[in-house]
């Protein structure tokens, strides 16, 4: 099966032009839920990176044996395997973080980003392209998560990575670490990304 973007194209597409969060609006549940501090966001992004790379690799290797009516089941089983590995590993080595992320690590199983990449890329292209695609998409996901978390943690608790950045006098905007803050920040950042994209497109078109 030929055609489709090359490995390097896949990698860079995932980071910004086809960013899973800001462009495709996939994986919103975990995006909104785990971004009230940067550490949680980074852990989540790392877990997704691991799961996505492994799942894409496996799916890409077995792509010739996939039958159309069984492919979703195979995707889900593959993803679930690696999610379980990631979940248990986090619980074993960074227990407090695993507790803080709660159900959102197991919920990676139903994260649309991963099943989307399996369907769009890994089931159709070779293992190198699939891994590059997985890395690009995960980096894009991580970028979005960290950008959201940076704004929310700074305004909501005056901290970055759990250490004080803003002066003590800073009144914490508690709403920013609560769910409404996630929606507000996401909307505003999405507007910003769209604005920049439109401006760049306008400049290139002119």
């Amino acid at each position: 099966m030929n055609g489709g973007p090359t490995a390097s194209q896949r990698f860079f597409l995932g980071i910004l032009p086809e960013n899973p969060v800001y462009r495709q609006m996939l994986g919103m549940c975990s995006t909104l839920a785990v971004t009230n501090n940067i550490q949680a966001a980074v852990t989540m992004a790392a877990a997704v990176l691991f799961v996505l790379v492994c799942a894409n690799l496996i799916i890409s290797l077995i792509r010739h044996w996939l039958t159309p009516y069984l492919r979703i089941v195979i995707f889900t089983l593959t993803i679930a395997t690696f999610v379980t590995v990631a979940d248990r590993a986090l619980a074993a080595f960074v227990y407090p973080m695993s507790k803080m992320l709660g159900p959102y690590i197991p919920l990676i199983i139903v994260n649309c980003i991963i099943i989307c990449r399996c369907e769009v890329c890994a089931a159709k292209q070779g293992p190198i392209t699939a891994v590059a695609d997985a890395a690009g998409q995960s980096l894009g996901f991580g970028l979005a998560l960290v950008s959201l978390a940076a704004v929310r943690e700074l305004l909501g608790s005056g901290m970055w990575f759990g250490s004080r950045v803003l002066p003590e006098a800073w009144p914490d905007w508690v709403i920013m670490v609560l769910p409404p803050g996630a929606f507000l920040t996401f909307g505003l950042l999405m507007g910003l990304v769209n604005w920049f994209t439109a401006r760049r497109a306008g400049k290139e078109g002119a």
Partner: protein, 332 residues
């Protein structure tokens, strides 16, 4: 790409009547401009502002100055960012600022007022496309944002300042005092306004004077406050009938922000329904939510959340209550 499609279409011919498309408030009376309405609201707010100044002195001055200045500045900046001429002259930003200031406690720190104003104009209004496009009441969006953000400074306990020179500010608000320790405030105090509370809500008398003026001028749709107070009265009657506890129906009506909310917040023409039946449903909904929050929730007062909740229902209510034209029938 867009150039091609534009060239296919014929040039617009300025012949015949042109349909004006404008954001709400949709006013049949062309003599009534946005500016005139906003001036009316500001006039109606005079008694409320006076009572706030009388009871809270410089705390009221400070709060209103901060909110007014930040709201006007935010309106100017955000309009400029959107490439519009700042519509400061229509007075809507000033109204938002004053109402927000009057809905804050006298003790509110300066940053709460400033951030509230910024959020009210920015997230409450400009982001939706400016005046007439917003889904929610801008002043209440700003207030909700700071209320949740700075719950310690602005929550029920934040209203009290034991060190204050002003006597009423050292006491708990009537609703809080009743909810926590069953203390029933005197009706005369609630009516006059000599109790602690948000700056504009304490005096039932001032709210009634300003509100009646608004309704008589038809700037506010009278159906909204009428149905809101009616619904609140019914639930208050049920509540006091089932468990008599000294906090009477009149206490429910005069206490808290019910009257201020009914006349000045719920009647915002942009975020309330257009049809008469819709306005009745909207008002009744707010009244019911206020009473449910007061009686059953941990919050002593619920006007802000009630208004925001029903604002969310406004498009649906508008769709439900499209009037059937005479002789016509709605197609389903």
């Amino acid at each position: 790409m867009t150039d091609d499609t534009l060239q296919i279409q014929p040039a617009p011919q300025p012949s015949g009547p042109v349909t004006d498309v404008a954001p709400s408030p949709h006013l049949a009376d062309s003599g009534q401009t946005t500016r005139a309405m906003m001036v009316d609201v500001l006039v109606a707010l005079i008694p409320v502002v006076c009572s706030a100044l009388y009871f809270f002195r410089w705390h009221a001055v400070r709060q209103m100055a901060i909110c007014l200045a930040v709201c006007l500045a935010a309106e100017a900046v955000f309009s400029a960012m959107r490439g519009r001429r700042p519509p400061l002259a229509d007075g809507s930003a000033a109204v938002t600022g004053i109402i927000l200031a009057l809905s804050l406690p006298a003790t509110a720190p300066w940053y709460a007022a400033a951030i509230g104003s910024l959020v009210a104009i920015g997230i409450g209004k400009s982001i939706f496309g400016g005046l007439g496009m917003n889904l929610f009441n801008p002043a209440m969006v700003g207030r909700a944002f700071v209320m949740i953000s700075f719950a310690g400074a602005l929550g029920a306990a934040g209203y009290q300042d034991p060190q204050s020179q002003i006597d009423i500010m050292t006491r708990a608000t009537p609703l809080t005092a009743f909810q926590q320790s069953g203390v029933v405030a005197s009706l005369a105090d609630l009516f006059r306004g000599s109790t602690n509370g948000s700056l504009g809500e304490t005096s039932a008398l001032a709210c009634l004077i300003g509100g009646l003026y608004l309704c008589l001028r038809r700037t506010a749709a009278w159906r909204i406050p009428a149905s809101m107070l009616a619904a609140a009265t019914v639930i208050a009657l049920l509540d006091t009938g089932l468990s008599p506890h000294g906090w009477t129906v009149l206490h429910h009506l005069f206490g808290g922000a019910l009257l201020f909310g009914a006349f000045f917040i719920a009647t915002d023409p942009v975020s309330s329904p257009l049809t008469h039946r819709g306005q009745m449903i909207f008002g009744a909904g707010i009244g019911a939510w206020v009473m449910l929050i007061r009686i059953f929730s941990g919050y002593p007062e619920g006007v802000m959340f009630a208004v925001l909740l029903m604002n969310g229902f406004t498009p649906l209510i508008n769709r439900w209550t499209i009037p059937t034209p005479f002789g016509g029938r709605l197609n389903r």
